[in-house]
Symmetry: C2
Protein backbone atom coordinates (compact mmCIF):
# COMPACT_ATOMS: atom_id res chain seq x y z
CA UNK A 1 0.00 0.00 0.00
CA UNK A 2 1.02 3.59 -0.57
CA UNK A 3 -0.11 6.56 1.50
CA UNK A 4 -0.09 10.02 -0.03
CA UNK A 5 -0.05 12.31 2.97
CA UNK A 6 1.47 15.29 4.75
CA UNK A 7 3.18 15.13 8.11
CA UNK A 8 1.11 17.91 9.65
CA UNK A 9 -2.27 17.00 8.11
CA UNK A 10 -4.35 15.64 10.94
CA UNK A 11 -6.52 13.60 8.58
CA UNK A 12 -3.29 11.96 7.34
CA UNK A 13 -2.17 11.39 10.93
CA UNK A 14 -5.42 9.50 11.66
CA UNK A 15 -4.69 7.00 8.90
CA UNK A 16 -1.03 6.63 9.92
CA UNK A 17 -2.19 5.69 13.43
CA UNK A 18 -4.63 3.09 12.08
CA UNK A 19 -1.97 1.56 9.84
CA UNK A 20 0.47 1.44 12.77
CA UNK A 21 -2.08 -0.09 15.16
CA UNK A 22 -2.72 -2.82 12.60
CA UNK A 23 1.01 -3.30 11.97
CA UNK A 24 0.61 -2.66 8.23
CA UNK A 25 3.60 -1.42 6.26
CA UNK A 26 3.23 1.15 3.49
CA UNK A 27 5.18 3.48 1.27
CA UNK A 28 5.08 7.06 2.59
CA UNK A 29 4.54 9.57 -0.23
CA UNK A 30 4.62 13.20 0.91
CA UNK A 31 2.34 15.86 -0.59
CA UNK A 32 3.29 19.30 0.68
CA UNK A 33 0.01 21.08 1.45
CA UNK A 34 1.48 24.46 2.37
CA UNK A 35 3.25 24.56 -1.02
CA UNK A 36 -0.04 23.54 -2.68
CA UNK A 37 1.27 20.27 -4.13
CA UNK A 38 -2.20 18.73 -3.72
CA UNK A 39 -3.52 21.15 -6.36
CA UNK A 40 -0.81 20.47 -8.98
CA UNK A 41 0.13 17.49 -11.16
CA UNK A 42 1.05 14.74 -10.63
CA UNK A 43 -1.14 14.55 -7.49
CA UNK A 44 -4.09 16.56 -8.84
CA UNK A 45 -4.21 14.33 -11.92
CA UNK A 46 -4.62 11.27 -9.73
CA UNK A 47 -7.55 12.37 -7.57
CA UNK A 48 -10.45 14.78 -8.13
CA UNK A 49 -10.59 15.62 -4.42
CA UNK A 50 -7.09 17.15 -4.22
CA UNK A 51 -7.05 16.19 -0.55
CA UNK A 52 -4.72 14.04 1.49
CA UNK A 53 -4.65 11.38 2.77
CA UNK A 54 -5.10 9.08 -0.20
CA UNK A 55 -4.39 5.39 0.22
CA UNK A 56 -3.50 3.30 -2.80
CA UNK A 57 -4.16 -0.42 -2.37
CA UNK A 58 -3.31 -2.36 -5.52
CA UNK A 59 -4.94 -0.41 -8.36
CA UNK A 60 -7.51 1.22 -6.10
CA UNK A 61 -7.44 4.73 -4.68
CA UNK A 62 -9.19 5.47 -1.42
CA UNK A 63 -9.93 8.91 0.00
CA UNK A 64 -11.39 10.39 3.19
CA UNK A 65 -9.59 9.36 6.35
CA UNK A 66 -12.52 7.80 8.23
CA UNK A 67 -13.60 5.84 5.13
CA UNK A 68 -10.01 4.62 4.72
CA UNK A 69 -9.86 3.48 8.35
CA UNK A 70 -13.18 1.62 8.02
CA UNK A 71 -11.78 -0.04 4.86
CA UNK A 72 -8.61 -1.08 6.68
CA UNK A 73 -10.75 -2.47 9.50
CA UNK A 74 -12.84 -4.53 7.05
CA UNK A 75 -9.84 -5.83 5.08
CA UNK A 76 -7.49 -6.32 8.08
CA UNK A 77 -9.83 -7.02 11.00
CA UNK A 78 -7.24 -7.44 13.78
CA UNK A 79 -6.87 -5.55 16.03
CA UNK A 80 -10.41 -4.20 15.54
CA UNK A 81 -10.73 -0.42 15.40
CA UNK A 82 -14.53 -0.70 15.45
CA UNK A 83 -15.06 -3.51 17.95
CA UNK A 84 -18.26 -4.53 19.70
CA UNK A 85 -21.96 -4.50 18.93
CA UNK A 86 -23.86 -2.01 16.75
CA UNK A 87 -24.35 0.36 19.66
CA UNK A 88 -20.67 0.39 20.61
CA UNK A 89 -19.68 0.92 16.99
CA UNK A 90 -22.17 3.79 16.70
CA UNK A 91 -20.62 5.38 19.78
CA UNK A 92 -17.10 5.06 18.31
CA UNK A 93 -18.22 6.58 15.00
CA UNK A 94 -20.16 9.39 16.69
CA UNK A 95 -17.15 10.46 18.77
CA UNK A 96 -14.93 10.37 15.67
CA UNK A 97 -17.50 12.49 13.81
CA UNK A 98 -17.82 14.92 16.74
CA UNK A 99 -14.23 15.83 15.86
CA UNK A 100 -14.05 15.13 12.12
CA UNK A 101 -17.35 16.87 11.27
CA UNK A 102 -17.67 19.54 13.98
CA UNK A 103 -14.14 20.72 14.78
CA UNK A 104 -11.55 19.83 12.17
CA UNK A 105 -13.28 21.16 8.99
CA UNK A 106 -13.42 24.67 10.43
CA UNK A 107 -9.70 24.85 11.06
CA UNK A 108 -8.45 23.42 7.79
CA UNK A 109 -5.69 25.32 6.00
CA UNK A 110 -7.93 26.22 3.04
CA UNK A 111 -10.60 27.59 5.41
CA UNK A 112 -8.12 29.71 7.37
CA UNK A 113 -6.76 31.03 4.08
CA UNK A 114 -10.25 31.98 2.91
CA UNK A 115 -10.85 33.88 6.16
CA UNK A 116 -7.66 35.88 5.70
CA UNK A 117 -7.54 36.31 1.91
CA UNK A 118 -11.23 36.68 1.04
CA UNK A 119 -12.88 37.95 4.20
CA UNK A 120 -9.87 40.04 5.31
CA UNK A 121 -10.08 38.67 8.83
CA UNK A 122 -7.17 39.77 11.05
CA UNK A 123 -4.53 37.33 12.30
CA UNK A 124 -5.90 37.70 15.84
CA UNK A 125 -9.46 37.00 14.77
CA UNK A 126 -8.32 34.01 12.71
CA UNK A 127 -6.59 32.56 15.77
CA UNK A 128 -9.64 33.28 17.92
CA UNK A 129 -11.79 31.46 15.34
CA UNK A 130 -9.40 28.48 15.41
CA UNK A 131 -9.39 28.23 19.18
CA UNK A 132 -13.16 28.77 19.48
CA UNK A 133 -14.04 25.68 17.44
CA UNK A 134 -11.36 23.52 19.05
CA UNK A 135 -12.21 24.53 22.62
CA UNK A 136 -16.00 24.36 22.29
CA UNK A 137 -15.82 21.19 20.18
CA UNK A 138 -13.53 19.39 22.62
CA UNK A 139 -15.84 20.46 25.45
CA UNK A 140 -18.60 18.46 23.75
CA UNK A 141 -16.26 15.45 23.45
CA UNK A 142 -15.27 15.83 27.12
CA UNK A 143 -18.88 15.82 28.28
CA UNK A 144 -19.63 12.77 26.14
CA UNK A 145 -16.62 10.88 27.55
CA UNK A 146 -17.21 11.96 31.16
CA UNK A 147 -20.89 10.97 31.07
CA UNK A 148 -20.67 7.52 29.48
CA UNK A 149 -20.10 4.12 31.06
CA UNK A 150 -18.68 3.06 27.68
CA UNK A 151 -15.59 5.22 28.25
CA UNK A 152 -12.61 3.16 29.35
CA UNK A 153 -8.86 3.51 29.13
CA UNK A 154 -9.56 4.88 25.65
CA UNK A 155 -12.51 6.80 24.15
CA UNK A 156 -14.61 3.63 24.03
CA UNK A 157 -13.44 0.64 26.05
CA UNK A 158 -9.91 -0.46 26.85
CA UNK A 159 -8.41 -0.73 23.37
CA UNK A 160 -7.78 2.07 20.87
CA UNK A 161 -10.50 2.57 18.25
CA UNK A 162 -11.32 4.83 15.31
CA UNK A 163 -12.34 7.48 17.87
CA UNK A 164 -8.81 7.59 19.33
CA UNK A 165 -7.29 7.72 15.82
CA UNK A 166 -9.29 10.92 15.26
CA UNK A 167 -8.91 12.41 18.75
CA UNK A 168 -5.11 12.36 19.01
CA UNK A 169 -4.33 14.45 15.89
CA UNK A 170 -6.89 17.03 17.04
CA UNK A 171 -5.04 17.38 20.36
CA UNK A 172 -1.73 17.81 18.52
CA UNK A 173 -3.32 20.68 16.56
CA UNK A 174 -4.81 22.17 19.72
CA UNK A 175 -1.44 22.16 21.44
CA UNK A 176 0.34 23.65 18.44
CA UNK A 177 -2.18 26.51 18.36
CA UNK A 178 -2.11 27.10 22.14
CA UNK A 179 -5.73 26.17 22.69
CA UNK A 180 -7.07 25.75 26.21
CA UNK A 181 -7.13 22.12 27.28
CA UNK A 182 -7.56 22.38 31.06
CA UNK A 183 -11.35 22.08 30.68
CA UNK A 184 -11.12 18.62 29.10
CA UNK A 185 -9.44 16.32 31.67
CA UNK A 186 -10.99 13.09 30.40
CA UNK A 187 -9.95 13.89 26.84
CA UNK A 188 -6.40 14.55 28.03
CA UNK A 189 -6.31 11.35 30.11
CA UNK A 190 -7.27 9.35 27.00
CA UNK A 191 -4.71 11.30 24.95
CA UNK A 192 -2.06 10.27 27.50
CA UNK A 193 -3.09 6.61 27.25
CA UNK A 194 -2.77 6.79 23.47
CA UNK A 195 0.62 8.47 23.51
CA UNK A 196 1.93 5.70 25.76
CA UNK A 197 1.49 3.35 22.78
CA UNK A 198 4.18 2.94 20.16
CA UNK A 199 1.70 3.09 17.25
CA UNK A 200 0.65 6.64 18.13
CA UNK A 201 4.23 7.77 18.78
CA UNK A 202 5.59 6.51 15.50
CA UNK A 203 2.69 8.01 13.51
CA UNK A 204 3.12 11.52 14.95
CA UNK A 205 4.12 14.43 12.69
CA UNK A 206 7.65 14.81 14.06
CA UNK A 207 8.39 11.16 13.21
CA UNK A 208 7.41 11.58 9.53
CA UNK A 209 10.01 11.63 6.73
CA UNK A 210 8.71 15.01 5.45
CA UNK A 211 8.65 16.67 8.91
CA UNK A 212 10.25 20.09 8.88
CA UNK B 1 -37.66 4.84 18.01
CA UNK B 2 -37.80 8.57 18.47
CA UNK B 3 -35.99 11.12 16.34
CA UNK B 4 -35.17 14.53 17.78
CA UNK B 5 -34.67 16.69 14.73
CA UNK B 6 -35.43 19.90 12.89
CA UNK B 7 -37.15 20.07 9.52
CA UNK B 8 -34.46 22.24 7.91
CA UNK B 9 -31.40 20.57 9.48
CA UNK B 10 -29.71 18.69 6.69
CA UNK B 11 -28.10 16.24 9.11
CA UNK B 12 -31.62 15.45 10.38
CA UNK B 13 -32.87 15.10 6.80
CA UNK B 14 -30.15 12.46 6.12
CA UNK B 15 -31.47 10.28 8.95
CA UNK B 16 -35.11 10.77 7.93
CA UNK B 17 -34.22 9.51 4.44
CA UNK B 18 -32.47 6.43 5.85
CA UNK B 19 -35.41 5.63 8.13
CA UNK B 20 -37.83 6.04 5.19
CA UNK B 21 -35.71 3.88 2.85
CA UNK B 22 -35.76 1.13 5.48
CA UNK B 23 -39.47 1.58 6.11
CA UNK B 24 -38.93 2.20 9.83
CA UNK B 25 -41.50 4.19 11.75
CA UNK B 26 -40.53 6.65 14.47
CA UNK B 27 -41.86 9.43 16.63
CA UNK B 28 -40.92 12.84 15.22
CA UNK B 29 -39.77 15.21 17.99
CA UNK B 30 -38.98 18.72 16.76
CA UNK B 31 -36.13 20.79 18.21
CA UNK B 32 -36.24 24.33 16.84
CA UNK B 33 -32.62 25.25 16.05
CA UNK B 34 -33.23 28.85 15.04
CA UNK B 35 -34.92 29.45 18.43
CA UNK B 36 -31.95 27.72 20.12
CA UNK B 37 -34.03 24.90 21.64
CA UNK B 38 -31.01 22.55 21.27
CA UNK B 39 -29.14 24.64 23.86
CA UNK B 40 -31.93 24.70 26.48
CA UNK B 41 -33.55 22.09 28.74
CA UNK B 42 -35.11 19.64 28.27
CA UNK B 43 -33.02 18.84 25.15
CA UNK B 44 -29.68 20.11 26.44
CA UNK B 45 -30.09 17.99 29.59
CA UNK B 46 -30.43 14.88 27.46
CA UNK B 47 -27.33 15.19 25.28
CA UNK B 48 -23.94 16.87 25.78
CA UNK B 49 -23.63 17.54 22.05
CA UNK B 50 -26.66 19.86 21.82
CA UNK B 51 -26.94 18.85 18.17
CA UNK B 52 -29.72 17.29 16.18
CA UNK B 53 -30.41 14.69 14.97
CA UNK B 54 -30.53 12.43 18.00
CA UNK B 55 -32.11 8.99 17.66
CA UNK B 56 -33.47 7.25 20.73
CA UNK B 57 -33.73 3.47 20.39
CA UNK B 58 -35.01 1.87 23.59
CA UNK B 59 -32.95 3.45 26.39
CA UNK B 60 -30.07 4.34 24.10
CA UNK B 61 -29.30 7.74 22.58
CA UNK B 62 -27.43 7.96 19.30
CA UNK B 63 -25.89 11.08 17.81
CA UNK B 64 -24.11 12.09 14.59
CA UNK B 65 -26.13 11.45 11.44
CA UNK B 66 -23.66 9.19 9.61
CA UNK B 67 -23.08 7.10 12.76
CA UNK B 68 -26.86 6.79 13.19
CA UNK B 69 -27.30 5.63 9.59
CA UNK B 70 -24.50 3.04 9.97
CA UNK B 71 -26.26 1.84 13.17
CA UNK B 72 -29.60 1.54 11.37
CA UNK B 73 -27.86 -0.38 8.59
CA UNK B 74 -26.33 -2.82 11.08
CA UNK B 75 -29.53 -3.32 13.07
CA UNK B 76 -31.95 -3.32 10.09
CA UNK B 77 -29.85 -4.62 7.19
CA UNK B 78 -32.48 -4.48 4.42
CA UNK B 79 -32.39 -2.61 2.12
CA UNK B 80 -28.64 -2.13 2.58
CA UNK B 81 -27.42 1.47 2.63
CA UNK B 82 -23.79 0.28 2.61
CA UNK B 83 -23.96 -2.65 0.17
CA UNK B 84 -21.10 -4.46 -1.53
CA UNK B 85 -17.50 -5.29 -0.74
CA UNK B 86 -15.05 -3.28 1.37
CA UNK B 87 -14.00 -1.16 -1.60
CA UNK B 88 -17.58 -0.28 -2.55
CA UNK B 89 -18.39 0.56 1.05
CA UNK B 90 -15.29 2.76 1.28
CA UNK B 91 -16.43 4.60 -1.84
CA UNK B 92 -19.90 5.18 -0.38
CA UNK B 93 -18.45 6.46 2.89
CA UNK B 94 -15.89 8.68 1.15
CA UNK B 95 -18.57 10.40 -0.96
CA UNK B 96 -20.73 10.92 2.13
CA UNK B 97 -17.73 12.40 3.94
CA UNK B 98 -16.84 14.61 0.95
CA UNK B 99 -20.10 16.37 1.80
CA UNK B 100 -20.43 15.83 5.56
CA UNK B 101 -16.80 16.75 6.38
CA UNK B 102 -15.86 19.18 3.59
CA UNK B 103 -19.01 21.17 2.76
CA UNK B 104 -21.71 21.00 5.39
CA UNK B 105 -19.71 21.93 8.54
CA UNK B 106 -18.74 25.28 7.02
CA UNK B 107 -22.31 26.33 6.38
CA UNK B 108 -23.84 25.33 9.68
CA UNK B 109 -26.08 27.86 11.40
CA UNK B 110 -23.66 28.27 14.35
CA UNK B 111 -20.76 28.91 11.96
CA UNK B 112 -22.67 31.50 9.95
CA UNK B 113 -23.67 33.19 13.20
CA UNK B 114 -20.04 33.31 14.36
CA UNK B 115 -19.02 34.93 11.07
CA UNK B 116 -21.63 37.65 11.47
CA UNK B 117 -21.64 38.19 15.25
CA UNK B 118 -17.97 37.68 16.13
CA UNK B 119 -16.07 38.45 12.93
CA UNK B 120 -18.50 41.17 11.78
CA UNK B 121 -18.64 39.71 8.28
CA UNK B 122 -21.21 41.41 6.03
CA UNK B 123 -24.35 39.65 4.84
CA UNK B 124 -22.94 39.61 1.29
CA UNK B 125 -19.64 38.09 2.38
CA UNK B 126 -21.46 35.52 4.51
CA UNK B 127 -23.51 34.46 1.48
CA UNK B 128 -20.40 34.39 -0.67
CA UNK B 129 -18.71 32.14 1.94
CA UNK B 130 -21.75 29.84 1.94
CA UNK B 131 -21.83 29.49 -1.83
CA UNK B 132 -18.05 29.11 -2.12
CA UNK B 133 -17.92 25.96 -0.01
CA UNK B 134 -21.05 24.46 -1.58
CA UNK B 135 -19.99 25.16 -5.17
CA UNK B 136 -16.36 24.07 -4.82
CA UNK B 137 -17.29 21.10 -2.65
CA UNK B 138 -19.95 19.86 -5.05
CA UNK B 139 -17.46 20.26 -7.90
CA UNK B 140 -15.26 17.69 -6.14
CA UNK B 141 -18.25 15.34 -5.78
CA UNK B 142 -19.14 15.86 -9.46
CA UNK B 143 -15.64 14.95 -10.62
CA UNK B 144 -15.63 11.88 -8.40
CA UNK B 145 -19.01 10.73 -9.77
CA UNK B 146 -18.20 11.55 -13.40
CA UNK B 147 -14.86 9.69 -13.28
CA UNK B 148 -15.89 6.44 -11.60
CA UNK B 149 -17.28 3.23 -13.10
CA UNK B 150 -18.90 2.63 -9.70
CA UNK B 151 -21.38 5.48 -10.32
CA UNK B 152 -24.77 4.16 -11.38
CA UNK B 153 -28.34 5.40 -11.18
CA UNK B 154 -27.30 6.64 -7.74
CA UNK B 155 -23.98 7.82 -6.28
CA UNK B 156 -22.70 4.25 -6.08
CA UNK B 157 -24.57 1.58 -8.02
CA UNK B 158 -28.25 1.34 -8.80
CA UNK B 159 -29.76 1.54 -5.33
CA UNK B 160 -29.69 4.46 -2.90
CA UNK B 161 -26.93 4.36 -0.27
CA UNK B 162 -25.57 6.42 2.60
CA UNK B 163 -23.96 8.69 -0.01
CA UNK B 164 -27.36 9.61 -1.48
CA UNK B 165 -28.80 10.17 2.02
CA UNK B 166 -26.08 12.82 2.51
CA UNK B 167 -26.10 14.28 -1.02
CA UNK B 168 -29.80 15.13 -1.30
CA UNK B 169 -30.04 17.42 1.78
CA UNK B 170 -26.94 19.28 0.58
CA UNK B 171 -28.66 19.99 -2.75
CA UNK B 172 -31.76 21.25 -0.94
CA UNK B 173 -29.52 23.71 0.96
CA UNK B 174 -27.74 24.72 -2.24
CA UNK B 175 -31.03 25.47 -3.97
CA UNK B 176 -32.38 27.42 -1.00
CA UNK B 177 -29.24 29.58 -0.99
CA UNK B 178 -29.19 30.08 -4.78
CA UNK B 179 -25.89 28.29 -5.31
CA UNK B 180 -24.71 27.49 -8.82
CA UNK B 181 -25.54 23.93 -9.80
CA UNK B 182 -25.07 23.99 -13.57
CA UNK B 183 -21.46 22.78 -13.18
CA UNK B 184 -22.51 19.51 -11.50
CA UNK B 185 -24.70 17.64 -14.03
CA UNK B 186 -23.97 14.15 -12.68
CA UNK B 187 -24.77 15.27 -9.14
CA UNK B 188 -28.06 16.73 -10.35
CA UNK B 189 -28.92 13.60 -12.34
CA UNK B 190 -28.46 11.51 -9.19
CA UNK B 191 -30.48 14.07 -7.21
CA UNK B 192 -33.30 13.64 -9.74
CA UNK B 193 -33.17 9.84 -9.39
CA UNK B 194 -33.43 10.19 -5.62
CA UNK B 195 -36.32 12.64 -5.70
CA UNK B 196 -38.26 10.21 -7.89
CA UNK B 197 -38.39 7.89 -4.85
CA UNK B 198 -41.10 8.21 -2.24
CA UNK B 199 -38.63 7.82 0.69
CA UNK B 200 -36.77 11.00 -0.29
CA UNK B 201 -39.97 12.94 -0.96
CA UNK B 202 -41.59 12.12 2.34
CA UNK B 203 -38.40 12.92 4.31
CA UNK B 204 -37.98 16.39 2.77
CA UNK B 205 -38.23 19.51 4.96
CA UNK B 206 -41.58 20.71 3.57
CA UNK B 207 -43.17 17.36 4.51
CA UNK B 208 -42.11 17.62 8.17
CA UNK B 209 -44.62 18.38 10.96
CA UNK B 210 -42.55 21.37 12.16
CA UNK B 211 -42.09 22.88 8.66
CA UNK B 212 -42.79 26.59 8.59
Amino acid sequence: MQLYNYFRSSASFRVRIALALKGLSYEYLPVHLVRGEQLKPPFSDMTPAALVPMLVDGDQQLTQSMAIIEYLDETHPEPALLPGDALTRARIRALAQDIACEIHPLDNLRVLRYLVNELKVSEDDKNRWYRHWVETGLDVVERQLAASPMTGRFCVGDTPTLADCVLVPQIFNAQRMDCRLDHVPTVMRVFGECMALDAFVKAQPSACPDAS
